[in-house]
Amino acid sequence: MANTTAAEAHAHHPPHLQHHFVTSEQQFDAAKQGMWLFLITEILLFSGMFVAYTVYRVWHPEVFAQASELLDWRLGMLNTIVLLTSSLTVALSIHFAQQDKQRQMLICLVLTILCAGLFMFVKYIEYTGKFSHGIFPGAGYAPHGDYASYDIAYAPLFFSIYFVMTGIHGFHVLIGMGIFIWLITRVARGHFSSAYYTPVELTGLFWHLVDIIWIFLFPLLYLI
């Protein structure tokens, strides 16, 4: 509302509406635009590593193809399905928020966090499996036993990229899990409704980004 004084504006506004915004829609739109911009920065953060992967893959295609045989594509596929499911559950939670269905919203968020936990557990299995065979990033690369035949030049580079990319991605999954815990406590206290569910929406956007990064990581590292 243009030209209203501060006093008039104070008179009646929803509790979640911050003072520098005029309407709830403006505040929600601004929050979403801000979140999308942040997601773009995250994409650029990961793109540095995708560039490194591309450069080294172009230079040593056969080494990369051979080294990726050591990654179990079935575990990778499982993680892909898990993350896609978690994107579904978080989208559903937003849908239920819009419909004021508090219980279903809560259940979907809990399911999301369980999926995320499962993803991290599978990653844990993968990582410990690699370590037990002497596969470490970079200078620590020393495959032994069954994997001794993979002790070839430039293979350490593949695994450096593998560990750094999936490591930073996994770090973002952990951050997401933390945010979901916070979100669930707020849902349980009834902070959100169809009138105000911005944190749920923004967390959902973040989670979709985490998912989509994995969608690119999986084929590049595991399948080709």
Binding site: A2, N3, T4, T5, A6, Q18, H19, H20, F21, V22, Q26, D29, A30, Q33, G34, L37, F38, I40, T41, E42, L44, L45, F46, S47, G48, M49, V51, A52, V55, Y56, H60, P137, G138, A139, G140, A153, Y154, P156, L157, S160, I161, F163, V164, I168
Partner: protein, 574 residues
């Protein structure tokens, strides 16, 4: 005193702003805690101003030490290792802790919301968080000094940086953290300009300062994450030897340079675009004329922001990249001179047949035109491959970037600081002291850095601790280095004078009128001096452009005289 008649297009009650000096954003709350927990964009701008002034002082002292060492051949005041650490830290502090946050964090934070008619930025709490994140990053930078310092140069090239001291770990962490402050500020400004403009404030009525900050914010958002990942990779390279930059493990050290410069070139546009925005404001106000070519200046900011991402390879002409790459980067580098030149021509045209008022801010704007043009043209010169092969890593490059970064960004920042000082503090600085200091800065700057063009073109390499071995073939290097050092003293004198009279004005300065410059942008016409906490009594309704001086009668009242309306000493308007 405000105009007695109603400003065209403004809400009827806008002329009734309370007189200066009563309830404003400085007096609204008191005490250190109110400052450390503020979410007012104006106070956050001041927090940044104090931090950045401190870092500028630190970086400046380091520069003085570097120049002092070069006063005589051989050791003058420090050994070679200390010298390498000095120039490294000088640049790191100046680039990451002063120039990059620079104008957006200080003047952008303070002025941008008012320029668009908003009460605050879109995300005020994120704004405060940005400052804290920045300070934490700065703490890590200081930490790197305490654990032994780095001597890699601010560019941290591998393999030296990945194999050297552990202080590099602190510094990469510092840059990574401080980068997030820039990203959040950029996000904040973009959303603010999109979502929080007052009614009637169309994109074509935005002050050019806003266009400049907006373009800068785009660069901040897109480029800064790349230095983030570069620092992470450097950290991991050092900490875990992942080998991505190490040939022994199959990596490539030049890849680091590509990553580093993919951010650091756009970073220099983060530094200069806001400066250009300030110059647009100064040119318009102090020529009392519509800024020539508004659309061209606005769109050229966006063009520079975009083109800035395509030229990073011009830092690597001699790094071993292919000739084809070098040729392409060279051509793109020439291209970016075009929107830049468009701006300079438009600023000059703005003055033509205007009513030019040579107050201190305008002196700095004119200084910018001269110094930045030299800096920009020498940049085009070194964009020529055959020239750069000889001039790369010489003092010519050092002079080039100081002319654009200091002669450009810092001069514009000082001009903007003088321009907006009355609005921010409610005080007028001493105009005669301003002019004297400007003269000292101009003379000192040129003596310091023009000599370096000569040094570099005759072959003096940069980052060299000692030039004794070069004096046989180049005896002129001694005189040139000494002249440059003396210049640094004059420059420092001018800058300290500015600091002194600005601080003095806080305590003893004359009370500022609401609009000492007779400007037409919202911060001058619709807010008190200093502004109230929420900037505006009522949301402004905008129906004119920011430089429509032909409407001055409607804004200031028909009884205003040509000099009365803008005279810093006289009463405003009625």
């Amino acid at each position: 005193m405000e105009s007695a008649t109603q400003p065209v297009g403004a809400a009827p009650q806008a002329a009734e702003a309370p007189p200066s000096g009563t309830h404003n954003y400085l007096t609204h709350e008191r005490g250190l805690w109110s400052w450390l927990t503020t979410i007012d964009h104006k106070r956050i701008g001041i927090l940044y101003a104090i931090s950045l002034a401190t870092f500028f002082l630190v970086g400046g002292v380091l520069a003085m030490l570097v120049r002092m060492e070069l006063l005589t051949p051989g050791e003058t005041i420090m050994g070679a290792d200390a010298y390498n650490q000095s120039f490294t830290l000088h640049a790191v502090v100046m680039v990451f802790l002063f120039l990059i946050p620079g104008i957006p964090a200080v003047l952008g934070n303070f002025i941008l919301p008012i320029h668009i008619g908003a009460k605050d930025v879109a995300f005020p709490r994120l704004n405060l968080a940005s400052w804290y994140i920045f300070m934490i990053g700065a703490t890590f930078a200081i930490g790197s000094v305490l654990v032994g310092g780095i001597d890699t140069g601010w560019t941290f090239y591998t393999p030296y940086s990945s194999q050297g001291s552990n202080a590099v770990l602190f510094m990469t962490t510092a840059v990574f953290i401080a980068g997030f402050a820039g990203i959040f500020t950029g996000i904040n400004f973009i959303v603010t300009v999109h979502k929080m403009r007052a009614p009637g404030m169309t994109w074509n009525r935005l002050p050019l300062f806003v266009w400049a900050i907006y373009s800068t914010a785009i660069v901040q958002v897109l480029a800064t994450p790349v230095i983030g990942i570069t620092m992470v990779l450097l950290f991991l390279e050092k900490f875990m030897q992942i080998g991505i930059f190490d040939p022994a493990l199959g990596g490539d050290p030049v890849l680091f340079q590509h990553f580093f410069w993919f951010y650091s070139h756009p970073a220099v546009y983060i530094m200069i675009l806001p400066a250009m925005g300030i110059i647009s404001e100064l040119m318009g106000t102090f020529s009392r004329q519509k800024v020539s070519g508004y659309t061209f200046i606005a769109l050229s900011s966006v063009a520079i922001a975009f083109l800035g991402f395509l030229v990073w390879g011009h830092h690597m002409f001699v790094a071993g990249q292919s000739p084809i790459s070098s040729i392409i980067f060279s051509m793109l580098t020439f291209l970016i001179g075009i929107p830049t030149g468009i701006k300079v021509f438009n600023w000059v045209t703005t003055m033509y047949r205007g009513s030019v008022w040579l107050q201190t801010p305008m002196l700095y704007a004119l200084m910018f035109l001269f110094l930045f043009t030299i800096g920009g043209l020498t940049g085009i010169m070194v964009g020529v491959l055959a020239v750069d092969v000889h001039l790369h890593d010489t003092y010519f490059i050092v002079a080039h970037f100081h002319y654009v970064m200091m002669g450009g960004t810092v001069i514009a920042l000082i001009g903007g600081l003088h321009y907006w000082w009355p609005k921010i503090t409610g005080k007028m600085y001493n105009e005669r002291a301003g002019k004297i200091a400007a003269a000292l800065v101009f003379v000192g700057f040129n003596l310091t850095f023009f000599t370096q063009f000569i040094l570099g073109s005759r072959g003096m390499p940069r980052r060299y601790y000692d030039y004794a071995d070069l004096l046989d073939r180049h005896p002129e290097f001694l005189g040139l280095h000494q002249a440059s050092t003396v210049g640094s003293w004059i420059l420092a004198l001018g800058l300290f004078l500015i600091l002194f009279y600005m601080l003095w004005s806080l305590f003893k300065g004359k009370q500022a009128p609401q609009n000492p410059w007779g400007a037409l942008t919202l911060e001058w016409t619709h807010t008190t001096t200093p502004p109230s906490p929420h900037n505006f009594d009522r949301t402004p309704l905008v129906t004119r452009g920011p430089y429509d001086f032909y409407l001055a009668d409607d804004v200031f009242g028909p009884r205003h005289t040509g000099d009365g309306a803008g005279d810093g000493a006289a009463q405003e308007g009625a």
